[in-house]
């Protein structure tokens, strides 16, 4: 009986122990779920432990293996995966386990082991470039370019494909400073996968300036359309968008209409991101070519875009030509009308613009109509016809309308009325530039006490019409009639700025010195800063520094002091010139 009891105790103990053991050992699925949860929370150490548990239960689980690699990396314990990865060889797909081995060996500096792992994988998949690709990638990660180069060469030799791993080779050669070689490799990569076109462009764009001619020469020597596209895009990014556009258009002799359209559209989009002065014209050329190769709505849309681009490039004639060819199916009448009327206004043909607007009126939404209407009104202002401008603005009660009416009133010399309207427009109407211009105009008018000053309006109108020489002279005359602190200094400052922009340095200096009066403390800091900038331009640094010191010490509360201090530092050579 005692023996039986003893045996029962042992059985119970064993059974209980086994149960406890089972309770401590979650299923591999649970461990994996826990690991992913830890990983999601950023607890990499706990995630790594859980992934190890999952692998202990199921050594061939690729998800656990990859998860463990991810978790160990941020902990700086990457090498700990090696025993698990080695154990998983044969149990997990080669494409999972071998890359882990290669990456880990390379990361720990074991180059030979990484190479052996790649060789082992290559023996299992003799026609697959993946082992070499993985080795190149891991080597590049470690900046081990010799190893990467060996891997590329070995792959090409063993697989008998001279262009295999072109993408990797391109990056390797660029890292080594061989930009010509990198360019050739990129072309090979694009030939294999056209999607690399944009990647190649992004990779070659930062090439140092001294290599650029060589890269473009290499591309020029290649006859393919891929090379032309890359050449055109690089020319555009490196400051010659017009040359690039012409190059591309000339090369589009073989592709189908649809393919050409796609290539041109993509290039036009690329040009949109370029800010050089001739980029709009290049874009216009490309869009015009696109229109020629398109039909129906697509052609009209391209012409409309081309018209805008030509307008932006300042070529109103070409813009009109584009607009004249837009078919009746033109997709967005409001946009087309705005572009066409914009061209007419810029051309000084406000009357024709009015007629065109009347014609197109039924198809244009109200808001857009008002915007176009204001543009025509401003066109009348630019022509000097304030009455016509004001007539057009009748009934426009938008905030933008108040702003424009206010400016027209000021140009008529009605200071009080103009200021009231500008005030009603507030600081946010229109574009940022318009708002800034409005605030500057208000600052100019602030010290003037007269309610009406037609001579000032006339001077400002000259400025709006582009006659800056007469405007500066007129402003100076008006200033002479005003006390220094009641607008005299402010108007001289404006006249001085105009003269400086015109390159009339003597006249600018005289006006700015007159504006730098301590009797007008609200204006003097700006005048002194402007004068100091002029003196720096004229290589009169010592005078500029004295002036800037005067500004800082005399007007310490001016918001311009930080700018003055920076210019002083630059002039002294204390900081690099910007």
């Amino acid at each position: 009986m005692r023996r039986l009891a003893h045996a029962l105790v042992i059985v119970a103990a064993v059974a209980g122990g086994t149960q406890a053991l089972f309770a401590q050992q979650p299923s591999p699925t649970d461990a994996l779920a826990q690991a992913h949860e830890f990983e999601r929370k950023g607890d990499h150490a706990a995630a790594a432990d859980a992934f190890v548990r999952a692998l202990a239960a199921r050594p061939g689980d690729p998800s656990a293996l990859l998860g463990l690699e991810r978790s160990l990396d941020p902990l700086g314990r990457s090498a700990e995966i090696l025993p698990h990865a080695r154990k998983a060889v044969g149990a997990v797909a080669n494409a999972v386990v071998y890359p882990i081995l290669i990456r880990t060996y390379m990361a720990s500096g074991s180059r030979d082991s990484a190479r052996s792992a790649a060789e082992a994988w290559a023996r299992l998949a003799p026609r697959d470039p993946s082992p070499y690709r993985e080795l190149v990638s891991a080597a590049m990660q470690r900046r081990d370019r010799p190893m990467a180069r060996i891997a590329v060469e070995t792959a090409r030799q063993r697989l008998g494909q001279p262009n295999v791993l072109a993408y990797e080779a391109a990056q390797l050669l660029a890292a080594e400073g061989d930009w010509t070689g990198a360019t050739r490799e990129w072309l090979a990569a694009i030939a294999q996968l056209p999607g690399y076109q944009l990647t190649a462009l992004a990779a070659l764009t930062p090439a140092p300036e001294r290599f650029r001619a060589e890269i473009l020469g290499t591309l020029k020597d290649e006859p393919s359309l891929d090379a032309r596209r890359l050449q055109a895009a690089l020319m555009a990014r490196w400051g010659d968008p017009l040359g690039g556009a012409r190059q591309l258009i000339d090369a589009l002799t073989t592709p189908s209409r649809a393919q050409s359209a796609e290539i041109l559209t993509q290039f036009a989009d690329q040009l949109r991101a370029i800010n050089t002065s001739d980029a709009p014209r290049a874009r216009a050329l490309v869009l015009e070519e696109l229109a020629e190769r398109s039909t129906g709505v697509a052609a009209s849309r391209a012409r409309l875009e081309a018209a805008r681009a030509y307008q932006e490039a300042g070529d109103r004639e070409a813009s009109r030509r584009m607009l004249g060819n837009i078919g009746p199916e033109a997709p967005v009448p409001g946009n087309a009308a705005a572009t066409l009327i914009g061209v007419l206004v810029d051309d000084g043909k406000a009357e024709e613009a009015e007629r065109k607007l009347a014609e197109l009126r039924p198809g244009i939404p109200t808001e857009e109509f008002q915007a176009i209407n204001r543009r025509i009104a401003w066109g009348w202002v630019r022509q000097g016809n304030l009455d016509a401008a004001q007539r057009r603005m009748v009934g426009d009660s938008t905030v933008e309308g108040f702003a424009l009416n206010g400016r027209i009133a000021v140009l008529r010399g009605d200071i009080t009325g103009g200021v009231t309207l500008l005030r009603m427009a507030g600081p946010y109407a229109g574009t940022r530039e318009e708002a800034t211009g409005r605030t500057a105009l208000l600052a100019l008018l602030q010290p003037i006490e007269a309610d009406s000053l037609p001579e000032l309006g006339a001077a400002l109108l000259l400025l709006e019409r582009g006659d800056s020489a007469d405007a500066a002279r007129s402003l100076e005359k008006v200033a002479a009639r005003l006390p220094v602190d009641k607008g005299g200094a402010e108007l001289r400052l404006l006249a001085g700025r105009i003269e400086r922009q015109r390159g009339e340095h003597g006249s600018a200096e005289r006006l700015l010195r007159a504006a730098s009066s301590e009797a007008a403390p609200a204006t003097a800091p700006a005048a002194e800063l402007e004068l100091a900038r002029l003196l720096v331009t004229l290589q009169r640094q010592a005078e500029a520094m004295t002036l800037l010191e005067h500004l800082i010490l005399t007007y310490p509360t001016s918001a311009l002091v930080p700018q003055a201090r920076r210019l002083l530092d630059e002039t002294r050579g204390a900081i690099p010139r910007t």
């Binding site: 602030q446 509360t557 002091v561």
Partner: protein
């Protein structure tokens, strides 16, 4: 008129706004003293050093209040100093004698001290004549703060010209004469070609057999300058290579592209570490194709296999009354500073001589960042890294504009070194 109310508001952004005016406050409350705080209330920490330096240049006296408001300065409240503060955008508080007395009492009772600053040190920067002013953190700091300095190069050093200066700065010069090993990656580039030609021409002029021999002679002249009481401040690779040059008397440690003869295979055993400032028992990099000199540098930025990531370093805290020199060198408004690379970024602890003082290190890492020591009658300070505000600094990077970093704690450490020689001699014992 009603419109003026609106116009006044609209014009405010363009002309004048009502902001507190340091100058007006100072002029209105002219006091015998100006306190230049160096805590977070300071508007331009770096220029504050320039204001103090120029005060000394004008023959005035100043005081450095160690650990008081992060190392503030007490300057005379005369018109010239007030004007200088206003022009430089440096915050200064007028203080009466009574307030100064209260500050002194506070200093007396805490880990603080008041160190008199007596004379503006005469500063020399060792740099080739064509060196861009924007490629050297110290030159940038001196220019920005407005501390006057002169440039010296090999000829001046070897002809005994250092004697007229109180303070000498070395930046990224390679005193092993291997052109910072740039030949490995930049051979053929115009700037490197020019650098090599200029150094070879100077070696010929000075009758030296090679550039490495000339640079070693320069290193020895600098060592003698410190030995006789000079102050040396070095950054970046100058720290490591000046010691390698000093230790390699009679040993060829330069690659053949520098002196037409390969490195001595037994160089490591023949180094004489007793001659150096800071380091001992370093392992030399024997490969001419590795852009590394030795294992003195902990970060090894140009060796992909060994490169260590950047962390941050912490300044040590010293007793201002007992250890005024290291206390001066670590005055700062930040105690933890982000690290930055240089050809030599840090100094492996294993290679440091026992007698040196570590001023800053990365806790837990096997390297120090900022070290100091005595050498004969003089002192030296080594600061690893190239540019505190350009942590990754690559050749060809845009120059650092210090007006964008007026509170840079890393640059403050450089400027601490410039003012340190101005401290009254009797205080300079550690």
């Amino acid at each position: 008129m009603k419109r003026r109310h609106f116009l006044g508001a609209a014009a405010a952004g363009l002309a004048v706004v009502s902001v507190p005016s340091p100058l007006q406050a100072l002029l209105a409350r002219r006091a015998p003293w100006l306190l230049v705080p160096m805590d977070d209330s300071q508007t331009d920490h770096l220029k504050a050093y320039g204001v103090t330096f120029r005060t000394l240049e004008r023959g005035q006296k100043a005081e450095w209040f160690l650990n008081y408001r992060s190392g503030s300065f007490l300057l005379p409240g005369d018109a010239a100093t007030v004007r200088d503060c206003a022009l430089s955008g440096v915050a200064a508080e007028p203080v009466e004698e009574g307030q100064v007395a209260r500050i002194r009492a506070e200093i007396e009772q805490a880990n603080m001290d008041a160190v008199p600053l007596e004379k503006a040190p005469k500063v020399a920067v060792y740099a080739p004549p064509n060196a861009a002013p924007w490629d050297d953190a110290v030159t940038m700091a001196l220019n920005y703060a407005g501390v006057s300095f002169e440039k010296v190069w090999d000829q001046e050093v070897l002809q005994g010209g250092l004697g007229e200066y109180d303070w000498l700065h070395l930046h990224h010069e390679d005193f092993t004469g291997q052109y910072s090993k740039f030949v490995i990656n930049y051979a053929g580039t115009p700037w490197l070609t020019e650098m090599i030609e200029r150094n070879r021409a100077m070696a010929r002029t000075l009758g030296m057999p090679s550039v490495p021999a000339m640079k070693r002679a320069v290193a020895q002249a600098i060592s003698a300058y410190v030995d006789q009481g000079g102050f040396l401040f070095a950054m970046c690779t100058a720290t490591e290579t000046i010691d390698l040059a000093l230790a390699s008397e009679g040993v060829d440690i330069a690659a053949s592209y520098a002196d037409d003869s390969p490195m001595d295979a037994t160089a490591a055993q023949r180094m004489q570490w007793g001659r150096t400032f800071a380091f001992q028992d370093a392992r030399l990099e024997l490969s001419p194709t590795m852009a590394v000199f030795s294992d003195i540098d902990g970060h090894q930025v140009n060796s992909p296999e060994r490169r260590q990531p950047l962390g941050s370093f912490s300044l040590f805290s010293f007793s201002a009354k007992i250890d005024p020199v290291p206390a001066m060198l670590v005055q700062n408004h930040r105690q933890v500073i982000p690290d930055f690379y240089g050809l030599t970024t840090s100094f492996t602890r294993r290679t440091l001589k026992p007698a040196i003082t570590i001023l800053a290190d990365e806790p837990g890492a096997p390297w120090a960042k900022y070290i100091h020591g005595q050498h004969g009658q003089g002192t030296w300070t080594f600061f690893g890294g190239h540019d505190p505000e350009d942590p990754q600094h690559q050749i060809g990077d845009a120059p650092t504009d210090l007006s964008m970093h007026p509170h840079s704690p890393g640059y403050r450490l450089i400027l601490n070194n410039v003012l340190f020689p101005a401290a009254k001699k009797k205080e300079l014992k550690t």
